[in-house]
Amino acid sequence: MIEAWEYQVVAGLLFMIGTLGVLVRRNVIVIVMCIELMLNAANLSLIAFSRQWGNHDGQIFVFMVIVVAAVEVAVGLAIILRLVSNRDTVNIEDTSLLKW
């Protein structure tokens, strides 16, 4: 029998990997993917907790998170499209006009 905590460990590790990706990778598209990983980790956690408590709150929450994720990706990729057409780069380190 799988126990609740095993799911939480998977979720925690997934979240860690996502966070690492946001910190380390320079390709903005990959950074967005890593943010998706973070959201997915939270989703897994929510679903596991939902099962653990036997109520649907967590699952409905995940439903909403999926909607949010879809919108975020759409908007984010559109912003990245602008970036590419303005500057022809997807490297986050190339965007540092605004500083200090």
């Binding site: 956690s45 929450f61 908007v75 602008r82």
Partner: protein, 507 residues
């Protein structure tokens, strides 16, 4: 089971939602070559029309909110209250709607000036406002998250609304990436809170939260990080100067004020309801955040040359002041926060509107030197800017002084009541900081009054809409300082009325 639904609770949201949904449609209809009036709209008239339409929605919502302010609290769904329209929510909605209305008025000419007069602007603005209104009233984690995203996602786009500007684009990108990152953290924190308590309702969480348990606190910490990002408190503040500088000025004014208003509403609700059992621990952390925000915000603002950037740092400092009221955690403290949010909205939007008016020919003129000689060429703008700066610095009898006074007074009274010297220190550090802050606020009037304009400068004339914004901010900054008492009493009452329902359950 059919739930008991009270559509009336949504009253203030409905006009805004209608606007958010219909405005894109109207935009598309008017963009056609032949309209139903068989006469094509020029871009300018289209912009004005959309602005007036969104203003209409906002004003209707404003009227409904004002009516509801002292009425009974209502919930949308009695079985599972998604939102709670109590006094605090109504008041914060009013502030958000005021800020949004002023932004709409201040945007018309500015958008044309920067060649970004697209109708979608208003639709996005309205969606964001809708998100803020839900954020102030959300009573469970899911609504909180959804509302936060509904508020933020349009803002990401608005920050990048000058599509061809590299800075605007960079601002949008940074805001989007860091914002989504913070959302991820927030969401994970919410998941943990849900997992530990088995509920997503703030009130239930508050009942079951165990301040002794480490995972509970981990969830609380992550939620505070997520909200700390939204209010841009140190150390989650670094995006703010970059994003504020790059975004179109009217959007910056909007972001700097209404977002903070809504996020502070959420923060207060989360802290006072869901995380109330851990209040003492959390206040320790918030204390540090408040002091850091005030001090770093002010120190960094001193060496800025760009007004938008300077105001961004100044807004970080103001978050520090506002956190004082949150940390006080009494009705009085919350009332002081509400009052300060109102005041802050006016003084900040006033300042940003002046900067927006100066933009011309697709160029922002947002360096401090660009204001030179403004008192000669545009006395009204200079007076508004001066008063806003004085108010931000907290000089009596402007509204800014009154707001700070209430915050620090609440801290001192609370400190006496519970014998906690750290609250005194908070007040003292706050007063000292507002003294420091004068060093950079004063630069602006200094340049406007004591330096002559370069011969080439020809600042733009404020249009009718801008004049309305300027005069409104002027009147508010002065009147809220001279006759603040009625407003503050209303706030005390709203905070007290909210107390029984959701906020501050413990007597």
């Amino acid at each position: 089971m059919i739930p008991q639904i009270d559509i009336g609770a949504l009253g203030p949201m409905l006009p805004v939602a209608v606007g958010a949904i219909l405005l894109p449609l109207a935009e598309v209809l008017m963009a056609r070559k032949r309209t139903f009036l068989s006469r094509p709209f020029t871009q300018e008239r289209r912009g004005t029309f959309l602005a007036v339409a969104s203003l209409l929605c906002l004003v209707i919502a404003l009227i409904i909110s004002v009516n509801g302010l002292l009425g009974p609290s209502r919930v949308f769904n009695s079985g599972n209250p998604m939102i709670v329209m109590d006094g605090v929510a109504h008041f914060l909605n009013i502030v958000v709607l005021l800020g949004a209305s002023l932004t709409v008025l201040g945007s018309v000419k500015y958008l044309a000036d920067i060649h970004s007069n697209h109708g979608e602007y208003y639709a996005l603005l309205m969606s964001s406002v809708l998100g803020m209104m839900f954020l102030t009233s959300a009573s469970n984690l899911m609504m909180l998250f959804l509302a936060l995203e509904l508020m933020s996602i349009p803002l990401y786009v608005l920050a990048g609304f000058r599509r061809s500007s590299l800075r605007s684009n960079e601002s949008a990108l940074k805001y989007f990436l860091i914002g989504s990152f913070a959302s991820g953290i927030l969401l994970y924190g919410m998941a943990i809170l849900y997992g530990m308590t088995g509920s997503i309702s703030l009130a239930e969480i508050g009942k079951r939260f165990d301040p002794e348990s480490a995972p509970h606190l981990l969830g609380a910490a992550l939620v505070v990080v997520g909200l700390g990002f939204k209010i841009s408190s140190v150390p989650f503040h670094q995006w703010a100067p970059d994003v504020y500088e790059g975004a179109p000025t009217s959007v910056t004014g909007f972001m700097a004020t209404t977002v903070k208003v809504a996020a502070f509403g959420a923060l207060m609700r989360v802290l006072a309801v869901a995380l109330e059992p851990a209040a003492e621990l959390l206040y320790g952390a918030l204390w540090v955040m408040a002091v850091l925000s005030m001090t770093l915000g002010n120190v960094m603002a001193i060496i800025q040359q760009n007004i938008k950037r300077m105001l961004a740092y100044s807004s970080i400092a103001h978050v520090g002041y506002l956190l004082v009221g949150v940390i006080v955690g009494t009705l009085d403290g919350y009332a002081a926060v509400l009052f300060y949010l109102l005041v802050y909205t006016f003084m900040t939007i006033g300042a940003f509107t002046v900067v927006a008016i100066l933009a011309k020919g697709g160029e922002d003129r947002d360096r401090v030197e660009d204001l030179a000689g403004l008192s000669q060429s545009r006395p009204l703008m200079a007076v508004v800017m001066t008063l806003c700066m004085f108010a931000l610095a907290g000089i009596p009898p402007t509204a800014g002084f009154m707001g700070k006074f209430h915050l620090f007074r609440a801290a001192i009274e609370r400190g006496i009541e519970i014998g906690d010297t750290s609250l005194f220190w908070l007040a003292i550090i706050g007063v000292l900081n507002s003294a420091i802050s004068l060093a950079y606020y004063l630069r602006v009037p200094l340049v406007m009054y004591f330096r002559d304009a370069p011969p080439t400068s020809d600042p733009d004339v404020p249009g009718f809409f801008e004049r309305v914004v300027l005069l409104t901010c002027l009147a508010a900054v002065v009147l809220l300082g001279i006759v603040p008492d009625d407003i503050f009493n209303v706030l005390s009452q709203t905070a007290a009325s909210a107390q029984h329902l959701l906020l501050l359950q413990s007597p």
